[in-house]
């Protein structure tokens, strides 16, 4: 027998043994995919590179919260392993990664994947495989609305249409003769906002005198803001992501456009407001109206808040070097809190069905990361976990609350 032949036989034998060893592992536990007595493996994708990478703090925030929960003993004795991968905000890439997570890594569920286009692509696959697609990080209305077709999917944050309905209510109540100009991002996200505003104004939708859109490839939105100003509008709605929202605020100030400004919550972080104030002067941001549902780490109102204390403690321990004022970390922790809550409700004998049931029977009054009074709540007929938001007005340095919590729909 030649050496070569011997090697082949030996290798085959080793491979066979290895394969046998691998095969015996799942057979021994015979349990739910991704769940053992000591571990729950879940997966997700966030853009850690590419144009949307500012959102990667959301994934890191969630990861940090799970590490904190694990150090306190985990959920029912199980530690959470969150395999969060980089999809660069690219839907096909995300689908490939999620297939790998589901089929190779055998994850229990997909948690908090980010982006409307990304989750739209993941949804049919995960529903076909009956893998829970939990608390996706996007505010498109479809996650809550189309549950009959996609029962394994649920969102978390308030949906964009609902937010616009709140603005519409406010305009109709306090500024019934407003002439409205709208800047929106030309995709599902921006159009959801616009549609919500039109629906909310209802018969008075003609108050919108001009709309202008931008593409994410545009270098800036100066030209759009100039033509919106020329329409003679006195109320300016900005439905734009942080960079373009900042540009729009600055452009309005530089054009000396004396207008009331409504800014979507996607872009109302202190990072944006401070950048716009520095660049466009106080006129760029003073009086801007938006809605909030998360606590702002920079707000002195919460100086003694236990939720923010916990947030800062988790940041210091698990994300050293992370910018505490970057609210996306807090968002990630908020969603992770709800996920842990659903796991606890699903009980010791965890199954995918049980966690899905838990996710549509939430009643969370103690989420430390949302503003006081907001209840994270779902029922089989209402799959929008956060529905309450608070109107707020910017005074040049921070958001002051206006009125009381509002619920947009239903």
């Amino acid at each position: 027998m030649s050496i070569r032949r011997f090697t082949i036989i030996a290798l085959t034998a080793i491979l066979a043994l290895a394969a046998g060893a691998v095969l015996t592992v799942p057979a021994a536990s015979q349990a739910v995919t991704g769940v053992t007595a000591t571990e729950i493996v879940i997966g997700g994708t966030h853009p850690y590179s590419g144009p949307a990478s500012a959102y990667s703090s959301i994934g890191k925030g969630a990861q940090a919260y799970f590490a904190y929960v694990n150090d306190k003993g985990g959920v029912a004795g199980r530690k959470i392993t969150y395999k969060d991968l980089d999809d660069a905000y690219n839907p096909p890439q995300s689908l490939q990664l999620v297939k790998q997570l589901v089929e190779q890594d055998k994850v229990f569920a997909i948690f908090n994947s980010l982006g409307t286009p990304v989750n739209t692509v993941l949804r049919p696959y995960l529903n076909e495989k009956q893998v829970p697609q939990l608390f996706v990080a996007t505010g498109a209305t479809t996650w809550g609305r189309d549950a009959s077709k996609f029962p394994w999917t649920i969102g978390w944050q308030p949906d964009y249409e609902a937010e616009s309905l709140i603005y519409a209510k406010n305009v109709l109540a306090h500024e019934p003769s407003a002439k409205i100009a709208v800047l929106y991002q030309n995709d599902d996200y921006g159009q959801d906002y616009l549609k919500g505003l039109q629906n909310g104004l209802g018969a008075k939708a003609s108050m919108i005198v001009k709309t202008a859109s931008y593409e994410t490839t545009d270098p800036d939105v100066k030209a759009q803001v100039a033509s919106l100003k020329a329409s003679g509008a006195d109320t300016f709605f900005i439905f734009a992501t942080p960079k373009f929202a900042t540009q729009a605020l600055v452009a309005a100030a530089q054009l000396s456009w004396k207008t009331k400004v409504y800014l979507n919550s996607v872009s109302n972080s202190q990072v944006v407001m401070k950048a716009a104030t520095t660049q466009g002067g106080p006129a760029a941001t003073t009086g801007v109206v938006s809605v909030i549902y998360l606590k702002d780490p920079t707000d002195p109102r919460y100086a003694n808040d236990s939720g923010l204390a916990l947030y800062k403690q988790i940041m210091a321990k698990y994300v050293p070097g992370g910018d505490v004022n970057d609210q996306f970390y807090l968002y990630g922790m908020g969603a992770a809190f709800t996920f842990v809550d659903a796991l606890q409700k699903a009980g010791k004998d965890l199954t995918r069905e049980k966690v899905m049931q838990a996710a549509i029977h939430l009643h969370e009054t103690d989420n430390p990361f949302v503003i006081p009074g907001v209840i994270v709540q779902t029922s089989p007929d209402d799959r929008f976990p956060i529905r309450q938001e608070q109107l707020a007005q910017y005074d040049g340095t921070r958001w002051g609350l206006i009125g009381s919590l509002m619920t947009a729909r239903r």
Binding site: T217, D218, L255, Q279, G280
Partner: protein, 293 residues
Amino acid sequence: MQELAQQVVSGLATGSIFASMALALVLIYRSMNVINFAQGEMAMLSTFVAWELNQRGLPIWAAFALTIVIAFVGAVALERIVIRPVEGAAPLTIVIVTLGLFTAFNGIAGWIWGYVLKTFPSPFPTTPVRVGDVAFSLQDIGIIVVSLGTLLAIYLLFQKTKLGLALRASALYPEQSRLAGIRVSWMLALGWGLASVVGAISGFMVAPVVFLEPNMMQGIIVYAFAAAVLGGIESPVGAVVGGLSLGVVLALLGAYVDFIGTDLRLPVAFAIIVIVLMVRPAGLFGRQKAVRV
């Protein structure tokens, strides 16, 4: 009428951003006959360096000056270490190397500084100025003036100095230049250094407008390519004219041609560029190549 003037001014302001970046592309092209895809990311990296120096207490103009030196030395070193080995290779090889640098620089900037939007101090006052009913900011004027100033400096360097002559010669006739005693390879490195400096200046101008983050140049570089090609890829004047006209055309298309709106203005603008190039293949200011047959 007032809106038209306003749109033209907004277009010029945006166009000057394209123009300043297009200038850097033209410089590299003139020294190597290739497009450097990493040009925008190099500018972004330089801008971050200036921001960091400023954060550490250096006054903004001093930070600019120091960054320009760093950008020059860095780019020369980059050329020596990374581009030199592929210098004689097919243009495609160099292009792929620059694409690699593009991703590398983007990743490095994100790793060091993160992806959160940062305010970059504007070298010019951002206070609004009104002329009649047209509003703009001193910043807009500043960007245009600096672009034109850079253009003038480049022109003087290339046309009026011995070094400029050597740079031009080694790009056009490398073999002959070598025989004439010009160190062609070093001229290429110098070209990279100059382009990097122009890119850095462009970054300083652009960052206050689009805000500083690792992806800030990606929206701009595509338009800068278009502007450079429109103007004639070898012509600095063409780059500036191409950039400004692209900015104005985009603004006017978006504002006045209803069916185009903002959805179609990019395809339409590029269609115009294609048509221009069909009529004048070398671009507006390019040298028409005559081939003897």
